[in-house]
Amino acid sequence: MADRTKDAFTYADGWTAVSTKMITARRLTLVLVYVLVVAGVVALFLIPDVPQAVAWAALATAVIVFGWLWWLIARRVRSFGYAERGDDLLVSSGIMFRRLVIVPYGRMQLVDVKAGPIDRWMGITTVQLHTAAATTDASIPGLEPDVAAGLRDRLARRGEQRSAGL
């Protein structure tokens, strides 16, 4: 029988958190995006027709948004967690819009392991589960490569044991 919990989005035996390296990776992406933003703000200061006040306002907004995103990334990353139960996998994520996905092992059609250039450089990967439903969307980002590979193999094995038609 399923275990009863006190809160709708927790798991009694605790979540396996994703690597904190993902915070650095996401912040790096943010910095790269901000190179463009900074270029835009500098341009505002250099174009003579733009009033100085507007340029300063843009700079202030950019700085505040940067700080907020910097802080939000840490919270977003910490909100990711997964748990392998006997018959299914739980994935939890989100702060404002919280979500919890439960995927029975027998329903998994394929398990993807992928990493973009920044993630590869930082040494993290994403494990993504696919079922026959497009809405499932169970992806676990920010896993150490060996953890990801282990998880993938375990999931594939359990899926194989229970696999059936649609």
Partner: protein
């Protein structure tokens, strides 16, 4: 294989128009048993391309056609004919390279392609449905296309264009028989009609759908107000609010015209269409989820629309359009119940215990909160919603792909959460919205267990084997 006698077939789809254009000759068969589609197919493609060619010529002529008068028109027609001939030539090359056959393993194989050769192998044990459709131009030649759908990722649909209607039906029954694990020379399975929709009922039902009826009412209101205030400004809006729903009504009317459902050993067979007639066969056990839709103005007659999710069908057709897959566009309660019993035997929604959304959900959904609830029994999970248009969705536990719990900020403030049971892509989305947060989580956990257990006892892959 034996071909069924066309005269014995009860259907009259497509062999109409009385043009007598039925052409002799079947698709060629080579020594290895590989078959080709009908040799007239390139011409059918060419003729279908005529109007498109004409539109392209007019579009790119930059007014030359109008300037030259009758000569311009003649030139445009000439160019369109040349375009059509080019299409025919290209399709001739495609026809020469297209072969289909059943291999030793019983898989359905199709080789095709002119520049890029493609070899496809469809596992019939994974077959979801086989459709026979007659596009408008193919109808002139009494030709039909067969599309085969297997479970799988995108592009799992395979189309064979064109076969004579008789051959298309024979191929469909052969595929279905092989997929069912029967001998493949049993011929077309006999069918018994169950239900049909009269044009009048279809038209009335389409007009009385909640959004359509609302927009039409709004249009009348706008027209009355603008006429009374003797200004004409509002008529522009009226054109949109009135034109759009009428366009939708007409499109759906043409699409679902003469909708009939028949029972055959291959499964439920739906036929519909005015310009393009379609036949869709849904083998047993392929319905992934089902939805009862009851718009407010339909309730007087107890009408229902039945939408279904069928793996691989209807979510996106060849043109990338989202399509609503229907069991029937409109039916009375009794007929709908009968249909549902055929695709989900033993479904008993009435006896279920509903777990309703708490009273505080009124602050999230002031109108529909009383209707929001979920229920389950040994075989299915159900969710209901909607006050004006009532919706009831049902998914068998064995068809549950995954379960989700979500919570937005507004739900969080009220300690509510929504539970979603994921089905294969299609029009039916099963969501129990705005339940008590903890209830939602427990329902989700339990549903995952039920899904896992139900799958153990599921044997609907080769449904006729052993018979």
């Amino acid at each position: 294989m034996t071909l069924p006698d066309p005269a014995a077939s009860p259907s009259n789809v497509g062999d109409d128009l009385g043009l007598g254009l039925t052409l002799p000759g079947r698709g060629t068969v080579d020594e290895a048993g590989r078959r080709r589609v009908h040799p007239i197919s390139p011409l059918v493609h060419g003729v279908s391309a005529l109007p498109i060619g004409f539109i392209i010529v007019i579009g790119f002529s930059f007014g030359m056609v109008e300037k030259l008068g009758p000569i311009g028109l003649l030139a445009a027609v000439g160019l369109a004919v040349i375009f059509s001939l080019l299409v025919t030539a290209w399709k001739y090359l495609a026809w020469r390279n297209t072969w289909y056959w059943f291999d030793e393993d019983g898989d359905f194989r199709v080789d095709s392609g002119v520049l890029t050769r493609q070899q496809r192998r469809l596992q019939l044990s994974r077959l979801q449905s086989v459709d026979v459709a007659q596009p408008l131009f193919a109808r002139f030649f009494a030709m039909a296309e067969v599309s085969v759908e297997v479970a799988g990722s995108q592009d799992s649909r395979l189309k064979l264009q064109f076969l004579t209607l008789v051959d298309a039906r024979a191929l469909r029954s052969e595929i279905l028989a092989r997929a069912a694990g029967l001998r493949h020379d049993v011929g077309e399975a006999p069918e018994a009609p169950i239900a049909s929709v009269t044009p009048r009922d279809l038209a009335v039902s389409l007009l009385l759908r909640s959004v359509t009826a609302g927009l039409l009412l709004l249009t009348i209101l706008i027209v009355v107000v603008t006429v009374l205030s003797s200004g004409w400004g509002g008529l522009g809006i009226a054109l949109i609010t009135g034109g759009l729903p009428i366009l939708i009504v007409i499109t759906e009317f043409i699409k679902y015209f003469n909708f009939t459902v028949a029972q055959s050993p291959d499964g439920l067979r739906m036929r519909f269409g005015l310009a393009k007639t379609e036949t869709r066969t849904v083998p047993p056990g392929r319905v992934q989820a089902i939805e009862f839709v009851e718009p407010f103005l339909w309730r007087r007659w107890g009408w229902v629309r039945l939408r279904v999710n069928i793996a691989g069908v209807g979510h996106e057709d060849a043109n990338g359009n989202k399509e609503e897959t229907l069991l029937i566009p409109v039916a009375t309660r009794a007929v709908a119940e009968d249909l549902v019993q055929r695709v989900l035997p033993g479904l008993a929604v009435d006896g279920m215990v509903w777990h309703e959304a708490p009273e505080r959900s009124r602050r999230r959904s002031p109108i529909q909160w009383r209707r929001l609830a979920v229920a389950w029994d040994d075989s299915v999970f159900a969710a209901r919603s909607g006050r004006v248009t009532r919706r009831l969705t049902v998914i068998p536990h064995a068809r549950t792909q995954s379960v989700r719990v979500t919570q937005g900020p507004w739900e969080r403030a009220l300690n509510l959460a929504s539970v979603h049971v994921d089905s294969t892509p299609g029009p039916v989305k099963i969501s129990g919205r705005h339940l008590d947060a903890l209830t939602a989580r427990n329902v989700a956990d339990e549903q995952s267990v039920r899904a896992e257990q139900a799958r153990a006892g599921d044997h609907s892959i080769r449904w006729a084997e052993g018979e």
